[in-house]
Amino acid sequence: MHRKRIVGIGLLVAGWMSTAGAEEPAAPLHQSTLEELMRMEITTPSKRPEELLNTPAAAYVITGEDIRRSGVTSIPDALRMAPGVTVSRIDVSRWAVSMRGFHGQYAKHLLVMIDGRSVYTPLFSGVTWDMQDVMLEDIDRIEVVRGPGASTWGANAVNGVINIITKSAKETQGGVVTAGGGTIEEAFGGARYGGAINENTFYRVYVKAFERGGFVDQNGNDTDATWESVRGGFRLDGEPTAWDTWSLQGDVYNSEPEIAARPANAPPGSDAIQLQEADNIGASLVGSWNHIFTDTSTLRLRSYYDYIDRDVSPSFKEQRDTFDFDAQHEFALTDNQQFVYGAGYRFARENNESGRFVTFNPEDRDLHLYSLFVQDNISLLDDRLTLTVGSKFEHHEFTGWETQPDARAVYKLTENQSVWASVARAVRIPTRVEYEGSYLLDIDVENGKPVFLTIVGDDDQVSEELIAYETGYRAIPLETLTLELALFYYDYDKLVSAEPGQDRVNPATGQIVRPLVASNKNEGESYGGEVSANWIATDWLSFQTAYSLAQLDLRNTDGGRDTVALLNEGKTPEHQVSLRSMFQVTRTVEFDLWVRYIDDLSALDVPSYWTADARVGWMARKDLELAVVGQNLIDDRHSEFKAAFFNGIEPEVERSVYAKATWFF
């Protein structure tokens, strides 16, 4: 997938949203010098619809404006806007986020990055959403690409890739202060200030904090679990010459979510609740430099450092330092070929501590990852047909060299319609616990006694493999209407299975432990697709709609006897619908409505549900925005997902409301 293509969609959509009423500078521009002209920024490049039509993948862009108008307060909730993405709130601080199947808290096939920094956790796979966050007001866009992105982004970009991209410091000049509170969003506030160091260098600093709570159990009783988080950071952006840009950004945070669980010794039917507080600390530093050689040749360098200290005692402790460096050069190979190649290196040092539910063997680990990347974009038939072929070659500590190629083609049928198709291979590297650790999966009750189902890692583990076949159609029948259809067929091999071993008794506790050895004896297919339409009906009314279908078919192979991993079939909703509207009622009043349908999760006994969010925004003064947001308005409460670690508590999402004030200065 070619990075800049996706950007095009966002710009295109943003362009439509902002075409009316752009004010022209008073003085004629031709009286400015060339140097002055070169400093001017254009509204949004009036990209011809070609940019969107030339994208050979199923891609969706959530803009900063979408986030503001939807009233969401977290990144995972914002991701509900994208077709093909499934988001379930598990409790106050945890979400399950996945794309096209294999739904779960540790959705193992989805790569997520924030400004180029991977937030995929190699410990369990998935993203620890109770740690990763940004100031939502500073998000420029979230690019959501369904389908393997492994040929560009590397392993674990199996079912999809999510890129969260924040605005440059130049785009966030001035101050914003936000404050508010409500039922689940009990109290929150944030402040950001941006300024200029000189005419080519800009900065911003921010701080953000919140306390959330308000979740109930399956009987409607308050779980009392709260989640406090505070974070701060900065970003610097510079343009020392017309041909160079650089940025440096950093964050530090502390996040303390509580988990409500039944005490281990509670009698059946007990309402007792025990709260366990996690203590998470983290920091990151990301630097990037882009140099433009010519109109067709660019060099991009990026490096980051990431620190995580996650203390979820007595379960386990995780401490990891990650250093990453990535270089990419793009140039025109011939008149019709744009070639990109790159190399990367990542080093991670883990100093973990085993606990009651998760063990690591060894606890301390150094992991090296080397990667190379090539991609060729070939334009044929007077640019009507574009072929993209590329591959990533990675060397991973556990599994050695991995080759992840893809081939894509997009063909422009007419000026406003195109079709695309792709075939790609992607792998998912075994996680640390699957390779050399163990974790408690679930507690079954047999003959009145608890049986601890424990996944036991095995260093014979190999990577899970996917060959993905995708195709899609796009049409822009009107300047204000985009229609997209994407279909996929995924063929998985060597999926992780959990092979039951001999029950044994833990001598210390007398408990029955059933080891389930991580192996690669499952395979299967998934298929489905998404239909989406974006329509800007008038200056003051627009609609964004999406329907997603995903069906998963898994089975044992090679004499495997797994039963638990096969349950993934029933953990993904088959049908999902998202209907959004943004309505500018008057010049200062906005009314936004969002209705969603999520199908049932049969393996978890979670019923299907309809829900709705609504937002009323009022620009009370030129520098003050007030908003009231109601979330999950249809039912008093509903369940979105169930997880074993609550030991009998099944947190549910209640109807909630919050008010927010945003002051600009």
């Binding site: 500078p25 070169m38 509204t43 070609e50 001035g174 017309a242 008149d335 600009f664």
Partner: protein, 181 residues
Amino acid sequence: MRWWVPLALVFSQWLAPTSLANRTDEYRLKTAYLCRFAEFVSWPASAPTGTITIGVVQFDSYRAAVDAEFAGVAPEHRPCRLIPVDSPADARGCHIVFVNTADRAVLADYLASLRGQPVLVVTDVRSGARLGAAINFFTVDGKIRFAINQEAAEEAGLSISSRLLRLGRVVKGGSTDEEPP
């Protein structure tokens, strides 16, 4: 500028999502560029004299921007004149022709027809300068940049000043990128 002006401009996006006041319309900016380019180019004696004439292919998409740019400037004070061009033959009387298209075949037509003519060919076709246009616009991070094919300009009998060469990116025609400086 007072300290709060940029802030107000940034947040005007939020106040009314339909306004992006601190940014400039791309077509207006390109119109200004086209006018300014003329100062840095010397035409041979065989070129027409008088006001710089800039022919624009698919002029309709630029009409509003051109009108806005020259509104309030008396004709005698305008440094250049932009006119519609519908075919390569139309372009022969111009100093500059802006081949405003994404279609390489259209650019190739103009280049073939104008070979040896004292016309500065500007375009925004991808890799346009390497394909033989003297100047090619491209966009980087919301700003307009340009690549210059000096050989192509010289073949047309034009000379481009060193100042313009410094501001743009000099590329060679042919099959590969210029090596990084």
